[in-house]
Amino acid sequence: MESDPIIVCRCEEVTLQELHETAKSYQCSSRELKLRTRAGMGYCGGRTCRNLIDMIVNEVTGKSPGHSIPLGYQPPVRPVTFGLLGGHK
């Protein structure tokens, strides 16, 4: 029996297999892997999977994360309404 795929990014439903294959064919950075697969671009802002993406890149390319954060953070770091971001009530 083939077991279910391992989902790494829950928000965007990106699997371990897809991430692994993409990292392998492009030998890419975490940021490129994110842009290619959308892993880490969902609702939670990568809170659950950012470390896992770094681990996959490290496993495939042998590069461990440097001192600067591989997957940058952009505001808003929490989900917010459009109203809050400057809309009119």
């Binding site: 659950t48 470390n51 681990m55 808003p76």
Partner: protein, 403 residues
């Protein structure tokens, strides 16, 4: 007028607020959780001397002290941005903007996942989620659970679940894959378990503590560990030689398929079986929650011994960014007592910056206290914490001299 805004009402944020207020500063603390206390609210464990660490009580004590000093605490407020202004900081939250001269980030830590097939099923939760539901919200997480991932945090929380009358059937490792790695390696996990031996002395006494001091003996002990029976802490089987392959269930968790593994974590074919369960906790460890430090423009250091990326800071908990301070688990994963001690340092350091700390020795004493508390910590998340701390200090000094 608020002099300092503190994000996070855990032990670090509350202690910092107290130290600031004691020196005449106007302090505001915001936290997105409905109640102040941070991770303290869920903590309950027995110290080696037989006394209990009751985080709920500790939180209450800190809160009362802060309120008496006039610290303004607002819960249910999520901060989503922090931008530098000419005068200080402009901080955006779900409940409006704050303009403040000084900003302290005491946002704590987040949990790491251990992905395996079926981990998105209802009934699967992080070990910290189970802790909060059980000890804070008093909600029963299930009847019969399996914990995947064996580390200091999951062992401590499994014990808490047990104390609340919830049956923890067993603890197993996750099957090894590129995103579980060391968490699926029995040798590595066993070594880290020896560091928590004091939490359940009788379990480890049986294994012979002297025997386990040498690396070769550890390897041997692991060979002889009864494979599937494993060791027990408080009667909970901890199976270092069994791994969870998959969480099974149609609409929700029904069980976990486990397999025997060798000392390196490789599965032994033909030994698979399904263990029934109605909830599963996954425990991949903690990492510092640094998102606000990142958007505030703070430089970082990558130090696995502290849990990953941490904002650069000096002993006074000052970051290289003007008016930005950090304290607690955002600076590295340690226990609550260390977080509180760091909070006090940050508070005094901010007071000093405002010219309101005439007794300079208070700050140097508080800095020494962090060291003492660290050395005496019952719960140590990583064996090389002191090394990591020293590296951050050096990097911060280097950063300053480069600037």
């Amino acid at each position: 007028m608020t002099d300092v805004l503190i994000v996070g009402a855990g032990p670090a944020g509350l202690s910092a607020g107290i130290a600031c207020a004691q020196h005449g500063l106007q302090v505001k603390i915001v936290d997105e959780f409905p109640r102040p206390g941070g991770r303290l609210l869920g903590q309950l464990h027995e110290e080696p001397d037989g006394t209990w660490w009751n985080g709920m009580e500790e939180a209450k004590r800190l809160l009362e002290q802060a309120e008496k000093l006039g610290v303004d605490i607002d819960c249910g407020v999520s901060v989503y941005d922090a931008a530098k202004t000419k005068e200080g900081w402009s901080v955006s939250s779900s409940h409006g903007n704050f303009e403040v001269p000084k900003l302290l980030l005491a946002t704590g830590a987040a949990e790491m996942a251990l992905p395996l097939p079926g981990w998105t099923l209802p009934g699967v939760m992080s070990i910290g989620g189970a802790q909060v539901m059980t000890n804070v919200h008093r909600v029963r997480v299930g009847e019969r659970g399996i914990v995947v991932g064996v580390n200091i945090l999951s062992v401590a929380i499994a014990r808490e679940l047990q104390l609340s009358g919830i049956h923890v059937d067993r603890m197993v490792l996750p099957a090894q894959n590129p995103v579980t790695r060391d968490a699926g390696n029995p040798e590595k996990v066993f070594q880290s378990m020896l560091r928590v031996a004091h939490l359940a002395p009788s379990t480890f006494m049986k294994l012979g503590s002297k025997l386990l001091k040498s690396k070769t003996m550890q390897k041997l002990a692991l060979q002889f560990l009864p494979g599937i029976g494993g060791i027990r802490m408080w009667g909970i089987p901890i199976q270092l030689k069994a791994a969870a392959l998959e969480i099974i269930g149609d609409k929700q968790v029904e069980g976990v398929k486990i397999v025997k593994i060798n000392a390196k974590g490789a599965p032994i074919p033909g030994t698979e079986k399904v263990i029934p369960a109605d909830f599963v906790c996954i425990a991949g460890g903690l990492y510092p929650l640094v998102e606000l430090a990142a958007v505030a423009g703070c430089p970082f250091a990558y130090l696995p011994e502290l849990g990953g990326h941490v904002p650069l800071h000096n002993e006074r908990m000052q970051t290289p960014v003007e008016g930005l301070y950090v304290a607690g688990n955002i600076t590295g994963i340690e226990g609550a007592k260390v977080a509180a001690a760091q909070g006090t340092v940050a508070g005094l350091s901010i007071a000093d910056e405002f010219g309101k700390l005439p007794e300079k020795n208070l700050l140097s004493t508080a800095i020494e206290t962090v060291e003492v508390v660290r050395q005496n910590a019952t719960i140590q998340f990583h064996p090389c914490i002191a090394q990591g701390r020293a590296t951050v200090k050096n990097m911060s000094a280097q950063h300053k001299s480069d600037a």
